[in-house]
């Protein structure tokens, strides 16, 4: 009896130790990821002198200042950068969502000649980055009059996002039971109608896709820099980069611009994260 209870006691001490160690490591790493971001946020609400006097301190009534945000909103075209980024990201995601899910549906639903080959063709872009074609892409956009337009960016990002989207979504659509679709067909539903009925069933996959497409599009610097650098079409990422160059000593303004640039993406992530995890764990990212 005594040996058993001694055993369980050691066992439970071990478990407690394990529990503490495990959470200790996770907590320490979380501090490493969160603290720098918190530093940006708290200092964006402080006056310039206060930032350098003590960067670790929270803003107090004496040091609180929104001068950075004032600069961002009044002296730079930041609100317009914001709108540009939102338009580019939202329209790109919509296009990827509609076009990608349609193609995935066709690839997973119908047996036709060249199906496998087309699937392979469409997945080349998962591995070969679109950036490598930039020289030619820029020339084409120039000849189409699409440089310095949001449409140009949207088309490039849509092309960039489609391969992975189609790859993941078509695997998911394959898992939708046949009976369901056939029942709808018997009821006289058109193929378009059936596609529309399938969409809600693959929601987790689509959420995964949205998050994975949203982050690189919102944060991209390369294409805005090369194909849409004009003031009226600048995205937040490029705007913040240029802004940092101009206002390099105005830390308050730079910190404010950076704080603003990260908010939308974090909100979108929180909105989708539940579905993201479900999508990931149910095998959305099996190659």
């Amino acid at each position: 009896m005594t040996t058993i209870s001694a055993h369980t006691r050691i066992g439970s001490i071990n478990r407690t130790l394990q529990f503490l160690l495990l959470h200790g490591i996770l907590l320490a790493y979380s501090v490493l990821t969160i603290y720098p971001i918190v530093l940006v946020l708290i200092n964006s609400f402080k006056s310039r002198q206060a930032i350098f006097r003590n960067p670790y301190a929270l803003p107090t009534p004496e040091t609180f200042s929104t001068v950075g945000y004032d600069t961002v909103f009044n002296r730079a075209a930041f609100p317009s950068y914001f709108v540009n980024s939102l338009i580019v990201t939202v329209v790109t995601l919509l296009l990827i969502f509609i076009i990608g899910s349609m193609a995935s549906f066709a690839l997973s639903e119908y047996r036709f000649r060249g199906n496998t080959l087309l699937g392979l063709y469409l997945s080349i872009g998962i591995m070969i980055p679109i950036r490598l074609g930039t020289v030619s892409l820029l020339r084409m956009l120039v000849s189409l009059g699409l440089t310095n337009t949001l449409a140009g960016l949207i088309l490039v990002y849509t092309a960039q996002g489609l391969p992975l989207t189609i790859f993941v979504a078509s695997q998911f659509m394959r898992d939708v039971p046949r009976d369901l679709k056939d029942a709808a067909r018997v009821d006289g539903a058109s193929e378009y109608r059936i596609y529309w009925l399938i969409l809600p069933l693959v929601r987790p996959a689509l959420a995964t896709i949205l998050v994975f497409n949203m982050i690189p599009v919102w944060n991209d610097l390369w294409f805005p820099l090369i194909i849409a650098p004009a003031e009226n079409v600048k995205t937040v990422t490029l705007g913040a980069q240029v802004f940092m160059g101009q206002f390099v000593n105005d830390y308050g303004a730079v910190l404010a611009s950076l704080s603003l640039a990260m908010i939308p993406i974090i909100i979108l992530y929180i909105l989708f994260s539940r579905q993201l995890i479900r999508g990931l764990t149910s095998g959305a990212v099996k190659f």
């Binding site: 529990f19 490598l132 030619s136 390369w222 992530y269």
Partner: protein, 308 residues
């Protein structure tokens, strides 16, 4: 006998994706490879003429290009090595901890660990380049002093010997969320019964990880490796935001992406050269393609053979 018509609805479903993808992705990739075989004509620089592999010859032998190419390739491999040695093992460790049965507040930790991955390069570059590692703020200095390692205080990004490794680690900080997510997903997929059975047989936590979990997530290890490879050899943004297009100090952080950008677009006094840019893109294409083929043939195929 008439041939059966290809069903219209299949075309309607597929056409938009195929057209956008072909026009804006596949065509530019191929056309860019074609452009790498052309150069502005000596008589009329407006006209480009076919020169065969001469651009590649220039890139590999010309004293203006060859040292930069070698430097960029070498730096890129170091950049990749740091990701493989730090990002992916630590990502796996965090995923293992996150998916452990003992772990509480999983969602909170997961979001915290994934947070940097959502941030733009501009923000990440500014946080590390201008705040933490900047002597002006001295946050890294304070940190080293606090933990009693004052000797480590130095301009990490300013010295050619340390700048590349430092930037690679910043990139690791940013992207660790991706292996963490993919490994978590794979680990969650492992059945509890399997692990329980091993425990009953007396396996230690380490034994369970090494002999049961790791072999089962091997496919994910492959995916993470190839994604890291492609991402690293295509990287540009972080180096550009922190060190500028010249990838200083003295090209110590120059990788293929920054070399490509400078050559294609020009930087400061150097004029842009699109066809030479396309040539560098061609080299990047070859490197990435080689990596992908090694993965598909050498790794993925062997895995499927084991499965059946």
């Amino acid at each position: 006998m008439t041939r059966k018509r290809f069903p219209t609805h299949i075309i309607v479903f597929l056409a938009p994706a195929v057209i956008i993808y072909t026009v804006f992705m596949i065509y530019p990739l191929i056309d860019s490879l074609r452009l790498s075989l052309y150069a502005p004509s000596a008589e009329n620089p407006q006209v480009e003429e076919f020169v065969g592999f001469k651009n590649y010859e220039t890139l590999f032998t010309d004293p203006n290009y060859a040292p930069r190419l070698q430097g960029a390739v070498k730096n890129n491999f170091i950049f990749f090595a740091v990701h493989m040695l730090v990002q992916n093992p630590v990502g796996l460790l965090l995923a293992t901890l996150l998916t452990s049965q003992l772990t509480r507040w999983r969602g909170v930790f997961r979001t915290a660990l994934f947070l940097p991955t959502m941030l733009s390069f501009v923000l990440v570059g500014f946080i590390w380049g201008n705040i933490i590692l900047s002597p002006l703020w001295g946050i890294a200095d304070d940190f080293f002093r606090t933990i009693g390692l004052g000797d480590l205080i130095q301009p990490w990004l300013g010295k050619p010997e340390t700048a590349l490794i430092t930037l690679s680690l910043v990139s690791v900080w940013q992207f660790i969320g991706i292996p963490m997510m993919l490994f978590s997903a794979a680990l969650i997929g492992i059945s509890d019964e399997l692990i329980e059975a091993a425990r009953v047989d007396g396996a230690t936590a380490w034994g369970v990880f090494w002999y049961i979990k790791f072999p089962l997530i091997l496919p994910t290890v492959g995916i993470v490796t190839i994604l890291t490879f492609v991402g690293n050899f295509n990287a540009f943004d972080l180096i550009y935001t922190v060190q500028g297009g010249l990838a200083g100090p003295n090209f110590a952080t120059d990788i293929l992406g920054t070399f490509f950008y400078r050559t294609f677009f020009g930087f400061q006094l150097q004029a842009g050269n699109p066809t030479m840019g396309a040539t560098i893109a061609g080299v990047m294409f070859l490197i990435i393609l080689t990596g992908v083929l090694v993965y598909l043939v050498g790794f993925q195929r062997r895995l499927t053979r084991v499965e059946y």
